[in-house]
């Protein structure tokens, strides 16, 4: 899951499509619109159109197919459970219950696959309480360094026989490994906070402002939003 996060983030930062140039704010609004229509729509036809638009977004963003499928498939295990419990045996129900979450997860994959996390967090941090908004940036900053460290830790534990013995022993050793990461996180965060103060941290990480910078690529977001709105108006009451 975290490697998926890393690969999607890499694609978001290095991609060169029009979607990568479009503003984060416009893409957030478009994603919210598509997910909203998919969740609230009672029309299978409209859902199918939203799903097709979601695929079009993913394909035009050149997100590697494997990544897109992995991200989109995350809801499937629990969706399977939901279907076992609620399915009434009709194809319409099956399609509606499948298309809603799959459309939402595809749109999420497109959004994070074309928008670096700091750009995505910047508008959100303006509406969230200060410390929570800052937490988004600091978590993102710490995550990849911690992942590299946890990988090295896992390798050294394996080499020293840390994964042998009973399940209880292995789990307790995994917990000790987490303990080393907690100590490392504490030490690192002390240094980071000191550096933040030295650089003039005033109690709020503002994030970059280019999440709202408009470009010609935003016309693309606007065009797709127009298609979504037209489809919603025309097909809302259809079967």
């Amino acid at each position: 899951m975290t490697s998926l996060l890393g690969r999607i983030d890499h694609h978001a930062s290095t991609g060169r499509t029009a979607w990568h140039r479009a503003s984060a704010l416009g893409k957030l609004a478009l994603a919210a619109g598509i997910i909203g229509v998919a969740i609230f729509s009672h029309s299978l036809m409209l859902l199918a159109v939203m799903h097709a638009i979601a695929w079009m977004l993913v394909l035009s963003s050149r997100l590697p197919a494997r990544l897109a499928l992995l991200a989109a498939a995350y809801p499937l295990p629990f969706l399977g459970l939901f279907l076992i419990s609620r399915w009434d045996g009709t194809a319409v129900t099956l399609l509606v219950l499948l298309l809603r979450p799959l459309t939402a997860s595809l749109v999420s994959a497109w959004l994070v696959g074309t928008t670096p996390y700091p750009d995505l967090f910047a508008p959100l941090s303006r509406v969230l309480p200060r410390q929570t908004g800052d937490g988004l940036f600091l978590t993102y900053r710490a995550l990849f360094a911690l992942l590299a460290r946890s990988e090295r830790l896992g390798q050294s534990m394996r080499l020293r026989g840390g994964f042998g013995g009973s399940v209880r022993r292995r789990l307790a050793l995994a917990g000790e490994g987490m303990g080393t990461l907690a100590v490392h996180s504490f030490d690192r965060s002390q240094n980071l906070y000191a550096a933040m103060l030295l650089r003039g941290h005033s109690g709020r990480i503002c994030g970059c402002r280019h999440f709202a910078h408009r470009s010609a690529a935003d016309l693309l977001s606007l065009a797709v939003a127009g298609v979504v709105a037209a489809a919603a108006i025309l097909l809302w009451r259809s079967a």
């Binding site: 295990p77 629990f78 979450p101 992942l147 917990g175 987490m178 303990g179 100590v183």
Partner: protein, 216 residues
């Protein structure tokens, strides 16, 4: 197991919308009572939770959440902020729907807050490792009950297509699987928390709240 993987579109809007509103209120309150100087530490522990969740332990993408140990290390309010950040980042990669962020935060936050409160009482009588394990187990039990309640509510609430209303949900299927996974999660989270507590009490006891107050 206390982490919801419910995707978008299966929860009734009143449930996910009210949970997001409640979470925003709780976050505003948490912002008033937490120490802003610990924001970097909170971010680092949120990253640790994400890293821990990246290790699958079995079917259905089962993984530990570390909500209990993080709740104990940071306290209930700061722990709540951390689980919101983690839930939001996970939702952006489809690991639970964006509309489930509020419920995820409430469920994980309850695990952290319960563990934090229980640890304060248990650490006076037990070793730090045992106290952390038992506090984590307590948090898992309560959050599991909340989680199960949310899933049951989601399955019982009338949904569209309307034909679903004529078919009562087969809760026994969900219950059998969920209770088994919940029990497994309870044991796994507690044993991992025991290891975290054992390591920290030997290497950096000042990070554990009860011991740090004793040393001060």
């Amino acid at each position: 197991m206390s982490h919801l993987h419910l995707p978008d579109g299966v929860l009734p809007p009143w449930l996910w919308a009210s949970s997001i509103a409640l979470v925003l209120v709780l976050l505003a309150f948490a912002g008033r009572v937490t120490d802003p100087r610990r924001v970097a530490y909170q971010g680092a522990l949120a990253a640790m939770m994400l890293a821990a969740m990246g290790v699958p332990l079995g079917p259905l993408d089962f993984h530990v959440s570390l909500a209990g140990p993080v709740g104990v290390l940071l306290g209930a309010a700061a722990g709540f902020q951390v689980v919101f950040v983690v839930s939001l980042i996970l939702a952006f990669i489809g690991h639970g729907g964006l509309t489930a962020v509020g419920l995820n935060t409430l469920v994980l936050g309850l695990a952290g807050a319960t563990a934090s409160l229980a640890y304060g009482a248990l650490a006076r009588r037990l070793s730090p490792a045992t106290a952390l394990a038992m506090a984590t187990a307590g948090g898992q039990i309560l959050s599991g009950v909340l989680w199960f309640g949310v899933v049951t509510l989601a399955l019982r609430t009338p949904q569209h297509p309307a034909s679903l209303g004529a078919h009562p949900p087969r809760l026994e299927v969900v219950s059998a699987l969920m209770i088994a996974l919940w029990m497994l999660g309870l044991v796994v989270e507690s044993v991992v928390a025991f290891g975290v507590g054992r390591f920290l009490s030997r290497v950096h006891p000042g990070l554990l709240p009860a011991l740090s107050s004793e040393s001060a």
